[in-house]
Amino acid sequence: MSLSRRQLIKYLGASAVAGSGLFGFSNQAWSKKSAHVVVVGGGVGGAAFAKYLRIADANIRITMIEPSPKYTFCPGSNEVFNGHETLDNLTFNYDTFKTRFGVNMIQDQAVAIDYDKKRVKLKSGDFVSYDKLVVSTGPDFIYDAVEGYSAELANTDLPHAWKAGPQTAKLKQQIDNMPQGGVFVMSSPDGAYRCPPAPYERASMIAEHLEKVNPTAKVIILDSKNGFTFDKHYWHYWTERHGYTTGDARISWVSEQDGGRAVKLDAKNKIITTASGEKIKADVINIIPPHKASKFAEDSGLTKGERWVPFDAKTFTSKVDPNVFVVGDMVDAPMSKTAYIASNQSKVVAQAILDQLAGREPGTPFITNNCVAIISEEYGMTIADTHRYAGDHFLVQKRISEVTDDPYARRIRAELAKNWQRTFRKDIFS
């Protein structure tokens, strides 16, 4: 098999091909002896990893394997529904990684890991060799938790929109086209899923929007849980703004113990059946499926047959192979599945890899999750989680802002949320 120069660059990394100026970072005089670090996945975890590794080391060779040419941030995407945010504003390409950070971008899908030969197989059939591999694919969804739901439906008539992008736009369109007095039904999952308060934030953004354009419409949240992050804030504000728990409530929330678990979907007639046997006819349905580790993590054996990927608490090394690291929403960490956490896990991995390559013992990791969520454009709240390394696990300390009627305290946290989203996007992609 003969490879063209272009293919050589693609698969070996530009630094392995002398004199290349094709990617605009030929000035970085990488040695052929520099280690080659490959990251699978260009979401927040993979992007933060590549960026922070480059900041710390000018010479290391970095390759990112990501099938999509663009990334859309999930944080902020709930505000697309009330018109305060646009998908364009949340969407980034990888040009900065190619030029500024000198990352060799391969637009392809990783399908397997050959641990013995230390290489990743791509969908195209080619291989990328690595010295250290970081896997940050995000989660996949358990569609059949609600009988009748499927990936096909999610991509067509019934978007979950739990990965921001075209599905978000589709769901927004469906809500905007809902008849006056229509019914929006959401199914919120159990188990660990991306951004614990986000289903309720989304429902709130939709209610805030409907209040203006479709004031008699209803939002119903069918939950597979009996409580959720910031629940007291949401109940308090929904009562004040949307008549929560009254006969004419704009938002209703049905807990698992009250029969809220959605078990069956009649997609054609838009009817959801709950665990208690109740059938609810909706105009728009948004099923957020339970999550699990990605198919790639399963196929490559990283999950070791479990739902999530096991890892070493100090370095986020895979339990399968010491040269493979795992970060983000697919990992079995006792941490919320947030982009904030994923980015901080990635910084731990970047440092651990640099330490290992230099023959040093990796330092003690430290991971926080200081997140903001909103109920409306005038009510925000904060959570501060600290995860301290404790040998084989993490000590967790957690604080949540208190429910408040103080308009300043509410508003300033909502503004903080917007500021955080903007700063965070820059932290990851610029």
Binding site: F25, T99, R100, D332, G363, A384, N419
Partner: protein
């Protein structure tokens, strides 16, 4: 089963069920501080990098909302952070962030941010690539 393993098992199990149900570890602040002494303290860089989502890469985001940390005077950082930690006055969120840090950790972060250039991120070379030269806190 050793109690340590049991703790881990519980932590992981509660995560799988409901992440929000994973309450703070039952140990007191003093006990946690004592517990942490069995591991080397995280570096100023490791601690400080957790601030970037709000305060920008290397603390170098200059916005109207959250103050930049890059180039901040060491003593000023220590003073204000300690006041956040001790809840000396109401804040939006920093008292809830700062309460977990020890004096030594606060000083390590102060050193880290004092050594960063007080200049809006990104810090670029003339050709648009990232500067590495004056980057502080990178392990030697």
């Amino acid at each position: 089963m050793k109690s340590k393993n049991l703790l881990t098992g519980l932590a992981l199990a509660s995560c799988l069920l409901v992440p929000t149900a994973f309450a703070a570890d039952p140990k007191t602040d003093a006990e946690i501080t004592e517990f942490n002494k069995q591991f080397p303290m995280p570096t100023g860089k490791m601690l400080g990098n957790n601030c970037s989502a709000c305060h920008g890469t290397l603390g170098a985001e200059f916005t109207e909302g959250m103050p930049s940390l890059a180039g901040m005077d060491k003593q000023e950082f220590i003073e204000i952070f300690t006041q956040f930690r001790d809840n000396k006055y109401p804040t939006i969120v920093m008292h809830d962030v700062a309460y977990v840090f020890t004096d030594e950790e606060i000083e390590a972060m102060a050193d880290y941010f004092a050594a960063q250039r007080a200049e809006q991120w990104p810090h670029l070379n003339d050709d648009g690539t990232i500067k590495q030269g004056r980057m502080q806190g990178v392990a030697k």
